[in-house]
């Protein structure tokens, strides 16, 4: 029953959700809304779980004096101060907006903007026209990079006049080969998701129960 229970539950819920999608019957719509509410509640609890896990991880690190453990004090202090500020003064006033604007945002922006430096360095070192495929990737990448910024039309206008437009070439790369590849992947992913969902509903796929074979 330990194994059959979840399988039966998955079958009933899966079938119910499938049927409600195709029927306007209000009772089933109520069930659908109830399930959406449950989903939000469950996800809300994952935040509690996540916070607990974070506190436990850093507390252990401090307790065992592991490498770089002083940073764990910073992480825990950040958690307490931010949550405390939002709980006491709410998010629109008090220290929370300041913490958000002058601590969180600059840190997140800094991490993300480092990409520009690493992308520049990595593309200089790795983008080599060694094979035909690599050359195609390199040329397409450069054309899109230039075609998607204002300097693109300026360069193509200066070099080739109005005969060739980098913007049009970049648009073609995005609208034809990129679109075809993306659409193919999406259809494949969609079919895979449908197949997996059917397998879970029918009890064929049981890895979510911890069964590995």
């Amino acid at each position: 029953m330990k194994r059959q229970g979840p399988i039966i539950l998955a079958f009933i819920v899966g079938m119910l959700m499938m049927i409600q999608f195709f029927t306007p019957w209000p009772r089933l719509q109520d069930v659908y809304n109830l399930f959406l509410d449950w989903k939000q509640v469950v996800l809300g609890f994952t935040y509690i779980l996540g916070t607990w896990s974070l506190v436990r991880y850093h507390a252990k690190k401090i307790e065992r004096r592991q490498e770089n453990y002083p940073y764990s004090y910073v992480a825990l202090a950040g958690l307490v101060v931010t949550v405390g500020a939002a709980a006491i003064w709410k998010t629109a006033s008090g220290p929370y907006p300041w913490l958000f604007d002058y601590v969180q945002v600059p840190m997140q922006s800094t991490m993300f903007s480092l990409l520009a430096f690493f992308v520049a360095s990595a593309s200089y070192r790795a983008f080599r026209a060694r094979t035909v495929n690599a050359t195609l990737l390199l040329v397409a990448g450069c054309l899109v990079m230039l075609g998607r910024v204002s300097i693109g039309p300026y360069i193509s206008g200066t070099l080739f006049g109005h005969e060739i437009s980098l913007v049009q070439i970049s648009d073609w790369v995005l609208n034809v080969p990129n679109l075809a590849a993306k659409r193919g992947i999406m259809i494949g992913v969609g079919l895979g998701m449908t197949a997996t969902a059917i397998k879970i509903v029918l009890g064929i796929e049981q890895t979510y129960l911890g069964k590995t074979d």
């Binding site: 719509q29 659908y32 809304n33 959406l36 509410d37 989903k39 939000q40 996800l43 809300g44 994952t46 935040y47 709410k90 998010t91 629109a92 929370y96 907006p97 958000f100 604007d101 969180q104 945002v105 600059p106 840190m107 997140q108 922006s109 991490m111 993300f112 903007s113 520009a116 430096f117 992308v119 520049a120 360095s121 593309s123 200089y124 070192r125 983008f127 080599r128 026209a129 060694r130 390199l138 450069c142 990079m145 230039l146 998607r148 910024v149 204002s150 300097i151 693109g152 039309p153 300026y154 360069i155 913007v167 648009d171 995005l174 609208n175 990129n178 679109l179 993306k182 659409r183 999406m186």
Partner: protein, 282 residues
Amino acid sequence: MAFHDRLMSIDRRIIFLAVGLAVALPLIWPLGFPVEVSKETRDFYREIEALKPGDVILLSFDYEGDVMAEVDPMAVAVMNHAFTKGLKVVSLTTYAGGTGIAERILGQAGRIYGKTYGEDYVFLGYNPDWSGTILRLGESFKATYPTDQQGRSTSGLPLMQRVETYRDIGLIVSISGSALPEYWAIWAGGRYGAKVISGSTAIQAVLIYPYYQARQILGFLGGLKGAAEYETLIAKPGMGARGMDAQSIAHGLIVLFIIVGNLGYFLARRALRHGGTKAAGA
């Protein structure tokens, strides 16, 4: 060291310095490159322009601080456009870190255009489950968000009395640094028939094309360029237009580094071939 080796081994600190200057200098001294408006941006603009004063749009802040530099100008421009046209804005965020951003942008726009909270715009806040939120809004806004971000009952807000489901929303605008616009299109658009337009980072914009071509997303802004184009259309140049110069120079520089690296690579290969031929001849 041979010339081709020098071309292939530029110190990374020089590259970092060059990129830093390429980004910083145009922000300090704007170059004013002309902005050519793309069809995607024009369609984005047209969808908002087609709404009548008093219509309600749903603006979703689907991003956090990391991509703010790229997509914030889009959200600011949408608010400028919406309030200039007299549209009402119901707003939410699907990211915990999006609350601060949304409150700042909505508050600023409200002050500039003299709009009243609750009547002209509302910020519903953040719900932990974005997929459930998108689906649930199709059934009931007030049941999904019984209170707004500041804990006020949504039933008591005049604007929210006009909004029950997506049927009461003229247009959904998802400003994002992730794949969220796709889900707005699939669930809000596909299941509930809502009209969706989006603004994404340049890297995510590439993923929007299939939805745009299938008219599931009716228009979109791609990266800072999209923001700059949109600012041009609404005649309110902002950070999008200013950032475009920096991004243009940075992209040009990266392409230049790629060309230099490949030039070194081909010269090295040629030297190796010639060296090999000479050795064979000897």
